[in-house]
């Protein structure tokens, strides 16, 4: 355990010295405009200047600044609807800030990029018309990788997510936990620089969730990845991350950033862990 953590820590230190963050969020705000006409809500991203109706302004994020360095495992923690997903989608390039800038390795984020792989909240993101192998092999296929290299990578990934023997299976016969593992495999097969996860295990039972959390930690350690993990589960945040960003209620603002100095793998019964967890719970409550 020690070795990998040391390595990540030194690389964090090195990047911090250069002022070279992997992800740099500066004063990002995001608002939506909700127009109500005939009882129907229309939500737009741009204000309609010529509309007769006054929109109700919905501020999802307000003045959020956050830097994330290489090798970090950051959790975004906050109550439902506080804009965590919105921030993650801005980092992924699906949405753009209304104000402020979001940068990836010094360049403004202009759209989705396989270097910033997203794992969605719902396991339905897995393509149901492709087999497990097809789903995982799609990324490399789109990158024009040679077929041998692709096969090797897919096989390795399937081993890593422990789905050997299910290569030719269609998603409809897999359980929720297995599907989410496929989604993880599909994301990591491209060797992304950042892994973005949006409450990926929220819908699963406790046992599956715990085993998948250990999975994610293993993956994080083994390939020295940067991970941004959205969750509303305090324990999950404390268990996984080395930095927890706590958000306020909507409009989402950063309340506090908590560093968790516990080595992986963590124990849920460890008194220090419980202390961290209680501290986070207090933060969320007030």
């Amino acid at each position: 355990m020690g070795k990998i953590n040391e390595r990540t820590l030194t690389s964090i230190a090195k990047n911090a010295q250069n002022g070279n963050h992997v992800i740099a969020i500066e004063n990002v705000s995001k608002c939506f405009f909700v127009y109500t006409s005939h009882g129907e809500e229309v939500i737009t991203e741009k204000r309609r200047w010529f509309s007769r109706r006054k929109p109700c302004e919905l501020v999802a994020l307000k003045d959020v600044s956050l830097n994330i360095d290489h090798g970090e495992f950051v959790a975004l923690l906050g109550p439902s609807g506080c804009g965590k997903s919105t921030l993650l989608r801005i980092i992924a390039g699906f949405e753009f800030p209304s104000n402020g800038t979001a940068k990836f390795k010094g360049e403004e984020i202009k759209g989705p990029d396989p270097k910033r792989a997203m794992i969605f909240q719902s396991e339905r993101a897995v393509f149901p018309w492709l087999t497990v192998e097809g789903n995982i092999g799609l990324g490399p296929r789109l990158q024009d990788m040679s077929s041998e290299e692709r096969k090797e990578r897919v096989a390795k990934t399937i081993e890593l997510i422990q789905l050997k023997g299910f290569e030719k299976t269609y998603p409809k016969t897999l359980s929720g936990g297995m599907l989410q593992r496929v989604a993880v495999g599909r994301a990591i097969v491209n060797h992304p620089e950042v892994l973005l996860m949006d409450e990926p295990f929220g819908a699963l039972d406790a046992q599956t969730r715990h085993s998948l959390q250990d999975h994610v930690v293993r993956i994080w350690q083994s390939i020295d990845q940067t991970i941004v993990f959205v969750t509303h589960d305090i324990e999950e945040a404390a268990y996984l991350a080395n930095r927890v960003v706590v958000f306020t209620q909507r409009p989402g603002q950063i309340k506090e950033v908590v560093k968790i100095d516990l080595p992986h793998p963590r124990k849920r019964t460890n008194p220090e862990f419980i202390e961290y967890r209680n501290y986070l719970a207090d933060l969320i409550k007030h």
């Binding site: 989705p112 990029d113 396989p114 339905r124 993101a125 393509f127 149901p128 492709l130 789109l142 998603p171």
Partner: protein, 330 residues
């Protein structure tokens, strides 16, 4: 992989269509009209030649034969319940009994055979036509017409559906026109089709195309619109571009719905085919029926109907089977 197979079938259909349309075009170019201006059949009408069809089966033997066949089927079912499906036995029994009743009604002369020819007479006629090669000509003419028109409906309908489903402005302009044309039953276009395209294959192909086109377009629109946003975003996130989203997300995701559209479209095309063939062409099962009508050759009329029914069932079965195969992931 399955999509490659389907693409192969579509290409085959196109080749078949192109090959078969060539003689039709040359025929139209030569304009084989007689003095009165009507099209001349390029073969002998069997009845004018007065050829006798083979001896019809003895009705009694026929009825007993079918009854025995049904009994044997039930025996087989009781012996090998696993091999012979119950539903098939019941279906064949019901058809067999209906045919027996039909024959019996005529055998007992409860109905005059001019109004309803008995199955034995129909079979004899069909067999005679087959031997003469007359039946094959019409079957082939109908099928190739159908395939060309259906292929055209696919290659026009699916892309248009994609455009309408993806571009709001385009759909706002196109939708009303589509809906106006959609409610007109395709055969109503016949007079104009003939006016525009002349006599021969083109007007009937136009009618059939129109019949198949709308179910295909509408189902494509629905299927594509039902594509989940999360799948589109996944594809973009994996490094796909717009084309990848169309071909690797929207197409497979919409495929089951599109395929249902193809099946419905094919059914309507089949109906339009027979209607269109009653006019403006000189071959095809519909034409055969209409030609027999002028001669009051009721067994040929019924024979044509039987053929239409048979091919309809065959095509529908093929579609159903393929649909099941395609939707394996669902």
């Amino acid at each position: 992989m399955r999509y490659k197979k389907i693409a192969l079938v579509l290409t085959l259909m196109l080749v078949l269509g192109l090959i078969s349309v060539t003689p039709a075009i040359t025929w139209a170019a030569e304009k084989k009209y007689d003095q009165k201006g009507g099209p001349v059949a390029t073969w002998d009408r069997p009845i004018e030649k007065g050829f006798e069809v083979g001896e019809a089966l003895n009705p009694v033997h026929f009825m007993i034969g079918i009854a025995v066949g049904v009994l044997i089927l039930h025996l087989l079912r009781s012996k090998f319940p696993k091999v012979v499906p119950l539903a098939a036995v019941r279906a064949l029994t019901s058809i067999g009994v209906a045919v027996i009743i039909w024959e019996l009604v005529l055998y007992l002369q409860l109905v005059r055979s001019v109004f309803l020819p008995p199955p034995t007479a129909v079979l004899a006629k069909l067999q005679g036509h087959w031997q003469k090669g007359y039946l094959q000509i019409h079957i082939w003419a109908s099928i190739k017409r159908l395939f060309i028109a259906f292929f055209l409906a696919i290659i026009t309908g699916i892309p248009l559906g994609f455009l309408v489903a993806n571009f709001r402005r385009f759909s706002d302009y196109i939708d009303p026109i589509l809906n106006l044309i959609r409610v007109v039953p395709p055969p109503a276009w016949l007079p104009f089709a003939i006016l525009w395209f002349g006599i021969g294959n083109p007007p009937s192909i136009y009618i059939i195309w129109l019949g198949a086109f709308f179910p295909i377009v509408l189902n494509t629109i629905r299927g594509v619109k039902d594509t989940q946003q999360i799948h589109v975003e996944s594809m973009l996130n994996l490094g796909g571009n717009k084309m990848d989203v169309y071909s690797k997300v929207m197409l497979p995701s919409a495929f089951p719905t599109i395929f249902t559209g193809l099946r419905i479209g094919f059914g309507i095309a089949w109906i339009c085919l027979v209607t269109a063939e009653l006019v403006a062409v000189d071959a095809g099962l519909g034409w055969m029926i209409d030609d027999a009508r002028t001669l009051l050759d009721t067994p040929t009329i019924l024979g044509g109907m039987v053929m239409i029914c048979m091919f309809g069932i065959i095509f529908d079965t093929i579609f159903r089977k393929t649909e099941k195969e395609i939707a394996r992931w669902q």
